[in-house]
């Protein structure tokens, strides 16, 4: 049975990381090359970790299902990355970033991890600039900042509307340098489908070569997963088409506890749904909320066009309800407020959409300034919708965007399986029940550049894990598990396509495990998901061959995992009889409709141990708040 030990070092919060780094064991430089490390994922977390570990001298094998490392989903991040530089002299500090993140996460994160994140945030910006990341600058040549939701200081660094792209290209350039040197071997178009665990330690992975269909075995003395989040369980989300939970889920089934699966972030500013064949909900960066004002008509069933609705008949509901944060209120609050006004029948044209209006900002600053700030986002909006946002307000609606939950890790980012480390969005570590904007990029790079290189080294130095040959029986067993599953998927010959079932699952998740949840809906969701899972294994149709490039088969494997994970999300949401951050239980709210936490009973991380499909055991990691006083979040 799993035992959770957060391994948070002793001492004052500000000194924990420094002391811990000193106390960790080191691998002598000449011995580093004797260790092999597998890093799955080449997003911000994976690329930065693989490059940094290789620079230290370890042999790294890096894996991605993409054709190139640079395609990872991180590339799509738009708005920016936080750091506590206080370049603006507006009162920022490591402590304030720490405080904002704990509060933004609605007091459901581990203080020590969050403090470390804030602490290393400044190194990230230094690192990226040294790599040639062209961040936005002011006229004097110094770095520029913007504001993001949930903060009253300007601490977000950005590169136009393509911050993720520039940061990832920076990390990938570091990775490329190590590939060129032979210190990293990159395997593209490989999908990890099993984790190999030998005597309780992670020892390797099994992949499917997505071009040839061959099943391949790779062994190492430590395995790092940086495989991203699971928002695509909803079918429609802001995530890239291929983002999926399979690597994390298969590791979960091998013994890695899954923490807080119900904490999902629904992003307030996405494009609304236009039709059945839609494949994703593109994000409009939250940075737009710096200058855009969000409103709906005061009147139900309004039929006039936006520009014909007079000022006094508009409800700027965020400014009204949260005067001090207004349009920059945190994501969970903004999303829920949008749902509320649409549920009241005040959505644009009676649909699920609200306005994001730049008329006032254009009047105040001029079109040129707005174009400079958001030009590419405005262009993107126009390309997709055919409407010009300089002239008519954008229409937006919340969509699944980020998953705070993920594999449970201790302070060292090690999962409940020794030797298996989990970084970036794939772990649960730093954002509690709600992530603040521009903090995912920060976390991914913090984990990869500045945490894992130390903690993985410490594991190797103290455990001295042995090398295992891929002829070992456990590798054989892992291959068999993968092979059986693929054969089974190909032999059902039913009538449903993979997308049909995935869309059905998405609808259950969105309606019952989405922005607002209640006991009845969650119980229904659990049953419906179980039924759908049965239907999947009985009536699915996967065309094409095993030993060939077969995208239908790839998607089928991922949806099979979503059908298990989706259930766990509902189970976790049902267990948590409180509202916090992205988890809103309708039964638990204040008279004003705000989330009502229950700190006495639910100040814990819910870490679920897999027993069999549809059956888990809950373990609780109790959370202590010694530095940030537990308080009701207020953005009024």
């Amino acid at each position: 049975m799993i035992k959770l030990n957060s391994n948070v070092p002793e001492g004052n919060i500000a000194e924990k990381w420094t002391n811990h780094k000193f106390n960790m064991k080191l691998v002598n430089p000449a011995n580093k090359r004797k260790f092999d490390i597998i890093v799955v994922g080449t997003g911000l977390a994976g690329a930065s970790a693989a490059a940094s570990l290789a620079e230290l001298g370890y042999n790294v094998q890096s894996f991605t299902y993409h054709d190139s490392g640079r395609r990872a989903h991180s590339i799509a991040a738009q708005g920016g990355i936080n750091a506590a530089k206080n370049y603006q002299n507006d009162g920022d500090s490591v402590y304030r970033l720490f405080y904002d993140t704990v509060k933004g996460g609605d007091f459901r994160s581990r203080e020590a991890n969050v403090y470390r994140l804030a602490e290393v945030s400044n190194n990230i910006i230094d690192q990226c600039v040294a790599q040639g990341v062209p961040f936005a600058r002011e006229y004097g040549g110094l770095l520029d900042n913007r504001s993001f939701g949930g903060a009253q200081v300007s601490r977000t660094f950005y590169a136009r509307g393509q911050t993720g792209q520039q940061l990832l290209l920076g990390a990938i350039s570091a990775l490329n340098r190590q590939i060129g040197k032979g210190q990293v071997k990159l395997y593209t178009r490989r999908e990890m489908l099993e984790l190999v665990v030998i005597d309780g330690h992670a020892k390797g992975i099994v992949c499917r070569n997505l071009v040839t269909g061959e099943i391949e075995k790779y062994s190492a003395q430590a395995v790092v997963l940086a495989t991203g989040g699971y928002s695509n369980v909803f079918f429609l989300s802001t995530n890239a088409m291929n983002s999926n939970a399979t690597a994390a889920w298969r590791a979960h089934k091998k013994g890695a506890a899954f923490a807080n699966p119900c904490y999902t972030q629904i992003h307030p500013t996405c494009l609304p749904l236009h039709g059945e064949n839609q494949s994703k909900l593109p994000l409009m960066s939250e940075s737009l909320r710096n200058d855009g004002r969000i409103w709906v008509p005061k009147k139900k069933g309004e039929t006039r066009k936006a520009n014909d609705i007079p000022e006094d008949e508009r409800d700027y509901y965020l400014e009204r309800k949260y005067p001090s944060f207004g349009n920059l209120s945190p994501r969970d609050i903004s999303s829920r407020s949008a749902k509320e006004v649409c549920d009241e029948g005040r959505g644009v044209g009676g649909s699920e959409a609200v306005y994001l209006d730049f008329a006032e900002a254009i009047g105040r600053l001029g079109k040129k300034v707005i174009e400079e700030r958001y030009g590419n986002l405005f262009d993107m909006y126009q390309t997709i919708t055919g409407e010009n946002p300089y002239e008519v307000p954008m229409k937006i609606y919340p969509a699944p965007h980020y998953t705070m939950g993920g594999l449970w890790v201790d302070y060292n980012l090690q999962s409940t399986i020794p030797g298996l480390f989990v970084l970036g969005e794939a772990n649960f570590s730093d954002h509690g029940a709600n992530r603040l904007g521009a903090s995912a990029l920060m976390q991914g790079l913090a984990d990869g550049y500045f945490v894992a290189p130390y903690t993985v080294g410490n594991y190797l130095a103290s455990e001295k894990p042995a090398k295992v040959d891929t002829d070992h029986v456990e590798f054989g067993n892992a291959v068999k598990t993968v092979d059986d599953k693929v054969q089974k998927l190909l032999s059902i010959h039913g009538k449903h396509t993979v997308d049909e079932i995935h869309k059905k699952l998405g609808r259950i998740m969105w309606n019952k495990v989405g922005m607002a949840r209640n006991e009845k809906g969650l119980n229904e969701a659990i049953n419906e998901i179980k039924e759908l899972r049965e239907d999947f294994w009985k009536n699915l149709n996967v065309v094409g061959e095993y030993k060939d490039l077969n995208q239908t088969l790839e998607r089928a494997g991922r949806v099979a995992d979503y059908l298990e994970l989706g259930e766990l999300m509902a189970v976790d949401a049902l267990d948590r009889n409180e509202s916090c951050g992205g988890h809103f239980r309708e039964e638990y709210q204040t008279e004003e409709g705000e989330a009502l936490r229950n700190d006495n009973e639910y100040s814990y991380v819910a870490a679920w141990e897999f027993q069999e499909v549809g059956k888990w055991q809950l373990h609780k990691e109790h959370l202590e708040f010694e530095n940030v006083k537990l308080a009701t979040r207020s953005y009024k």
Partner: protein, 256 residues
């Protein structure tokens, strides 16, 4: 938004494997004008799967025009005729009812077809691995504001850095040259103070690798810039050439 569906004829390139002979296959579809061209292919593929037929293999990921994964030649143009968008951003409202649309993979010697519309673009990454970086290790770097960089310089570097690495420039070029792609990376670093120490060595390593990978030479037709989804300017090619010549002179001078 939506109005009536469009009825279209698609001629799509089908090729089972790198070595097999490919050909166009015809499909009739009815699609919402609000759908993107990739969503149209998703639907077509679901229809094919329902009939037990093999769907059309094509790649895409972010569907927001930034990851560079998608890349189809549509009616002869990489990413279609509309300037400055990637394939995933091409919406069907830009086509007329009754139209025939040709959909092919990127074609270039350095981009062998893997299956149907999927090609192997790994040659581009090899060029980056040869020198597309600034050699700094993690940690031990100066404070980010230690070296001021003028807004203009940062902005020029960013213009070059916006390249999404999709390979449309190569596919658009009659010589299958990768000069725009490589030039953009070289320029980004050449603008920045951080890129100066390795400036001349970098350009030489990258150009040598580019030639080795089978990319052709540049004959200044500017088709690359015209088809680039990010509008990367051919000025970057001139900048790279300048650095390349300077590098050659320098290396000859230092040879003894």
């Amino acid at each position: 938004m939506s109005s009536e569906n469009l009825n279209l004829t698609l001629k799509i390139w089908r090729q089972k494997s790198p070595t097999s002979v490919g050909s166009f296959e015809e499909f009739k579809v009815s699609v919402s004008p609000d759908a993107s061209i990739l969503e149209m292919l998703d639907e077509l593929n679901n229809d094919l799967e329902r009939e037990g037929k093999i769907p059309v293999a094509f790649e895409s990921d972010c569907r927001e025009g930034i990851c560079g994964t998608c890349g189809l030649v549509i009616n002869g143009h990489p990413h279609g005729k509309i300037p400055k968008i990637a394939t995933c951003q091409l919406h069907m409202r830009n086509f007329k009812n009754g139209e025939t649309i040709y959909i092919e993979p990127f074609r270039a010697k350095a981009f062998p077809v893997i299956k149907d519309l999927i090609v192997d673009r790994s040659g581009m990454d090899k060029v980056l691995q040869a020198g597309g970086f600034i050699s700094v290790n993690t940690g031990g770097v100066p404070d980010a504001n230690e070296i001021p960089i003028s807004k203009d310089v940062a902005s020029h570097a960013m213009d070059a850095a916006e390249c999404i690495g999709c390979g449309a420039c190569v596919a658009a070029c009659k010589n299958a040259s990768a000069m725009l792609f490589v030039g953009a990376k070289v320029s980004q670093y050449s603008f920045l103070p951080q890129g100066q120490p390795e400036r001349f060595q970098r350009v030489q390593s990258m150009v040598a690798k580019m030639d080795e990978m089978g990319f052709g030479s540049c004959t200044n037709t500017y088709a690359c810039e015209a088809e680039c989804p990010k509008g990367i300017s051919v000025i970057n090619i001139a900048r790279m050439n300048k650095d390349f010549i300077s590098a050659k002179i320098k290396s000859e001078l230092t040879e003894v």
